[in-house]
Each structure stands twice: as structure tokens, then as C-alpha cells.
């Protein structure tokens, strides 16, 4: 009965001077919205309504299609895939800058390694 309680709470938001038919329409619409959201149809009900239960593969396809639809909106990050986990992705628009810095650091490290090799010779290993 929590749904009905919620509806009663909502009624407090409706001004008292509101036309009664409008108030009734709003309550009715809230009822149908909340009942719809709360009621999860059982799989057999879905089949009865001529809508087969979606397989995981179908759900995945639907997800991709929904993402493609949302991608028709102006992109915020340029990301187009359907899977996004975690929200602290940095540098999505900062193309390649970090990689460039990392690579330069590696090249410097190798140069110093080679300088050491020239000075002291190659590392020696204990043979088994």
C-alpha cells in the first residue's frame, strides 16, 4: 500500500483552489504511473500479451540500440559503446597527451639504461 500513501502525499502538492476535475485527472494519472512502475509483469503475462520474454542477447541488442538512439543527441564525451562502469574517466577528450608523455618518459628511461650499459656493460645473470 506504499503506492497509495505516496499518492496521498502527492495530493498535498495540489493547490486547494484547483478545479476538481483537473485534480481528479492528476490523481488518476499519478495512480496509473505509480501502479505501472510498481507492477512488474510476470513472464507468462508478457507472453500472453504477445511479447516474448527478452533473452539476455536480445536485452544486449536493445541496449545497443538504445545507446545508438541516445548517441543521436549531441555527445558529451564522444563515447559510443553501450557499457560504462565507473564515472571517473579522465582525459576522454584529451586525446593522446598522456600516452605521449608516458612514451617520452619511457624513451628517456631507456636512454639512461643504454648509457649505463655502455658504462658498465650489459647486466649479467647467474646461469642455472
Amino acid at each position: 500500500m506504499r503506492g497509495w500513501d505516496a499518492i496521498e502525499d502527492d495530493e498535498e502538492d495540489i493547490p486547494d483552489d484547483l478545479d476538481i476535475s483537473a485534480k481528479s485527472a492528476k490523481v488518476k494519472s499519478e495512480v496509473s504511473k505509480k501502479v505501472f512502475l510498481k507492477q512488474k509483469p510476470a513472464p507468462d503475462q508478457v507472453v500472453a500479451a504477445d511479447k516474448p520474454v527478452a533473452t539476455p542477447a536480445q536485452r544486449h541488442a536493445d541496449k545497443i540500440s538504445a545507446t545508438a538512439e541516445s548517441n543521436s543527441q549531441p555527445p558529451t564525451s564522444g563515447f559510443r559503446g553501450s557499457i560504462k562502469i565507473g564515472n571517473n574517466f579522465h582525459g576522454i577528450d584529451d586525446v593522446g597527451k598522456q600516452a605521449e608523455q608516458d612514451r617520452e618518459a619511457n624513451i628517456r628511461a631507456i636512454a639512461s639504461l643504454e648509457a649505463l650499459e655502455q658504462q658498465y656493460g650489459k647486466p649479467k645473470f647467474n646461469k642455472p
Partner: protein, 252 residues
Amino acid sequence: MLKTFLVDGDKGGVGKTTVARVIADTFVNAAANGLPACKVVCLDADHTNPDFCGEGGYMPDTKIHDTGLVNLDEPKNWLELVNALEGIIAEAEEEEVRIIISMPATAKRAFESGSGEVAQVLSMLNTIPVWVMGRTKDSVTQLQSRIDAMPRQFEHGLVVTNLFFGTRDKFVLWDGSATKKELIGSGEWLETSLPELSDLIVTKIDRTPYHKAIESGTGTGGQKLGMGDIIGLRAFGTRAAAAMSIVEKIGG
């Protein structure tokens, strides 16, 4: 059948993303590379620098089934990953699916936390570690740490030496290590080398997927590639795919 290639390495800039891109392209052109036709899913876990699947990178198209940005630093996110992949895991019962995950340099936190969830997810996704080996000692010791933390999940895999950082004979620390002796000696791990790609081409294509750059003749920001760039890219693609196809032999 599902196989997941977990491209990992000890730090940023060793070529993890490049290896992930090459593996993705190797399976995108599966027939040409003597591999089974399969659905390719690309996941970028490098949240500090998502060059694999961030803007301009690999995205769903006629050749890439799906892509994702996944922060796998926390064990709980690995569980969310399984939820997100539920559909593709189901599809893999009927057809070949290959998932390529590009890991961040910070990945060690997830592996070495001793998380049972991470280990289970790796097993469920039939994960094959692909370790991009650098020329530093850390690169060898980090690989050994991964194996020590999750021996079952790292019982087979591929080591890739990136020839961008020098000819093969320069990887002396790896070649002389007990880790190499044990892994390669066991026959469960294989080794290959990633050929070098010209700096100029790397700069021009940036995050653009190799197959897209070759098809469209354009690189980052729609920059037109020269004929020489296309020839260089094709040659790299052929050599890299030949080197990387070996990954399919691992894990049955």
C-alpha cells in the same frame, strides 16, 4: 566460445593500448588472419587515458560489436562488468566472441588486493592475460606479482615485447629472468613481438582504429593520410596481425 584478452603491463606508455588495438584489428580481419569469425568487444579500463575506446577510438560499427569504458580499479566494478556483459556471455554459447580489455597502469590494485571476485570474473570470462613487457626490471617483477596473486588465472598467457622500444635483443632483463624460464619453459605461456610503427603515422592516426584509418584514408580529426602512410599502416597491420594471431592458440 568466449575468450577475453586482458592486455596489461607494469606502467603507462609500454604499449598496452597499441597491443589491444592490434588484437582487436586482428580479430576484425579474422578471415585474412586465419582466425574464426567472431564478435569483437573492446573495453577500455584505462580511465586516466582512454585511448582505446575514448573519443575517436574504437566504437561499435559493422566490425566492432560493442565497446565500453570500465573502471576496474575496484573489485565491485568487476561484478558490474559481468552484469553488463550478460548478453554477450549468452551469445558466446552459440558463436565465437572475443573481448579485448585494455588495462590501466593502476591495475595492480585490483589484482593484488586478493579479491576472490576478480579471480572469479577472470575465470568466468575465460581470460587470457597478455602482458606487454618493457625493458625495465619492474616489468618482469610486476608480471611475477600478478602470477603470485592469481596463479590459476595466470597459468597461461602471452608476453609481448614492443619493438618500438628497441630491437628484440635489448630485452635482456626479461630474457635473463627466472620468470621467463618458468613461463615460456612450461609451454603454457607464449611470446611474441609487436613490430614498430612509424612515429609519424602514430601521430597522424592517434586514436583512429587501424581498420578505419586504412578504409577511410584519414586519421585523427579527419586528417588525410598520404599514400605512404597507408602503405606503412597496411604493412604494420599485416606484420602485427601475424605476430598477434598467436594469442588465439592460448587456452584451447
